[in-house]
Symmetry: C2
Subunit: 352 residues, 2 copies
DNA sequence: AGCGCAGGTTACAACGTTGAACCGCGGGCC
DNA sequence: GGCCCGCGGTTCAACGTTGTAACCTGCGCT
């Protein structure tokens, strides 16, 4: 209950009713525009609402209706640009649908992702959008049934859980194909995950292999660079090691933009020209890649659609909850290869 | 009320009580660990809690206590790296204090910032952290009294509102002084706001002027470039115009990192070497500036402290609400000039 | 033996809201 | 003229929790 500095507690339906001279339930009826209200009383009540500055108490409404209008969004961390932009979209779209978003950070750690699923602090949300990095099938299974849930990422679990994912393989294939179409033949792959046969890294790796196969090229294991955590620092370091080892290559496909931007720095630091000496493609279309020099060619994974679909699906789950006759769904929106300067789109250097 | 797919509704205190063979209030007493509970019943109750899988209903608790444990955070947009990193810190610190964060985006528009202050959707938060761009004194005044509020940004309003801000002027002065100490004499200022005498832009401008004055240099209006919206694109465009106009200069102080990174691109695009030809300093210490080439010298405004102080202050406001005897506070944590390659810190180009 | 007292547990009320059931009243229909 | 019905509104109960106060039991004290 909000208490004003003067010590008055926030006005309730009863206070409005008193001013309007009707029962408090009539005020409720007006506000929920039930039909059975005479225009005259409606006006009278609305005036009273205005006068006392009434605001509905959402906690009470929430208790009564079993709905809060709040959804949870659990991401690894907002300081990763991709997730920040995703959260931006999710919040924006949720607002359009009169939902509000409670953001939780998991650090990508399995333990904390599990906690996000179970956390009682989240029990005042109607449902959860979860972008997990560490979870596995088994983790999701026991909790899946609990509350409305939509997972952002590749399907971990064939159970009753909606997934909104990306066309990882097709997009990685297109990105690699783009490099090959430029005549590049030795394409470094940054970000492979050792001993992972499902998951984002594996899918993108499969796309890379497929594109090479399409071009009749073998996979050179010497060009496949494993990096567990996809951040800029590690991208720069890995690229640096590759260069210092004297590996021959003419292109880089980084599994995300952060790796790509780190790699870009390492390339430039060593005096290599991008795209002349090495062409570079990333993945995610993070804003940072648009104003680097050269700007970064990347895959736009359909972030806007992902956010829209995820919120919509979650809402459907929430609305469906009493019935529960909605099957699990998996959607992967269209992606788009955004060609910029790092693969030779109009390098606009002027006086250089 | 959470309904499981099987149609069972979530267990309540009553369900636990029935299993444990005590009254539901005793269960409540156990869970809130009131002293007056025999160890034997405590154990019995906890076992029952476990057995039925009880989770407290936060909506009910919230209604009863008038507290939700949720705080609101309203920022312009998360896709701006500075705010994403700020949100990251706020969520992290809030979690430490058992608070959870509801994030709202205002787009930096006055209208929507006002709405964030008043929005009933936020009435289930205990208080609000607001990072406004468009608000003015008059806007804040009437609403300030409503609910616990901490404003992130320079003090707009001398009323009963806490502010956590930055040492804009001192930091800008230090940044500019740093450039002057390198021997630069013609320092372009990117991001001035026309006709603004208070506000972030004005304060940073004042710091810039002060540093010049310290060095006995005049302010050259031809070097002061107004940019209303501080994003990369506009930074790049403005820098481009300055360069194309043939303005003589040997350094740039951008009012934030986004402007700086945009400017960096324009400089490089035109074949100018940073820092050799032009030294460059930004403001905010956004992650992106760490792995550009050259990396970006910038002001770290004490983001971590800002987040910590803001959350703590808000909590104090919330706790103080019944009494209301807390005066308004203004805090500006220490900043730090982070010297990187764009002003000549160990340019590590190797083969170049 | 009776009384008070404290420890342990319980009943009751309340937080503010909404859905269901109910009531009085006037008008239309038979 | 009596009955039914719909309109406009009301009363009642409930959502699940916690603070207050009352309750009961057994024990120690006088």
């Amino acid at each position: 209950m909000a208490i004003t500095p003067e010590g008055r507690s926030a006005p309730t339906l009863r206070d409005v009713a008193e001013v309007a001279g009707v029962s408090f339930k009539t005020v409720s009826n007006v506000l929920n525009d039930h039909p059975q209200v005479r225009e005259a009383t409606r006006v009278k009540v609305l005036a009273a609402v205005e006068q006392v500055g009434y605001r509905p108490n959402l906690a009470a409404r929430n208790l009564r209706l079993g709905r809060s209008g709040v959804i949870g969004l659990a991401v690894p961390e907002l300081s990763q640009a991709f997730f920040a932009q995703l959260a931006d979209e999710v919040i924006r779209i949720a607002a359009e649908q009169d939902l509000v978003v409670l953001v939780e950070q998991t650090g990508g750690e399995r333990e904390r992702e599990l906690e996000a699923l179970r956390n009682p602090r989240l029990s005042l949300t109607d449902g959860l959008l979860l972008a997990p990095l560490g979870l596995t099938h088994e983790d999701l299974a026991p909790d899946a049934a609990g509350r409305p849930l939509v997972v952002l990422g590749e399907p971990l679990f064939p159970g009753p859980v909606d997934h909104v994912t990306m066309q990882h393989e097709a997009a990685a294939r297109a990105a690699t194909a783009h490099l090959l179409a430029l005549g590049r033949r030795r394409v470094v792959l940054l970000g492979a995950h050792a001993a992972e046969d499902t998951g984002v890294a594996a899918l993108r790796y499969a796309g890379y292999r497929a594109a090479l196969a399409d071009a009749g090229l073998p996979v050179d294991d010497g060009l496949v660079v494993p990096i567990e955590t996809w951040d800029r620092q590690r991208g720069a370091e890995a690229m640096g090691r590759v260069l210092d080892a004297g590996v021959r290559m003419d292109a880089v496909f980084a599994m995300n933009d952060d790796l790509a931007l780190g790699a870009l720095r390492s390339l430039q630091e060593r005096g290599l020209a991008v795209p002349r000496d090495v062409a570079l493609v990333g993945f995610d279309d993070v804003a940072d890649g648009r104003y680097t020099f050269p700007s970064l060619t990347t895959v736009e994974p359909g972030r806007h659609d992902i956010a829209r679909i995820a919120v919509t699906m979650l809402r459907e789950r929430i609305d469906d909850r009493p019935r529960g006759d909605l099957g699990p769904r998996v959607v992967a929106p269209d992606f788009r290869l955004v060609v910029r300067e790092s693969t030779g789109a109009e390098v606009r250097a002027r006086r250089a």
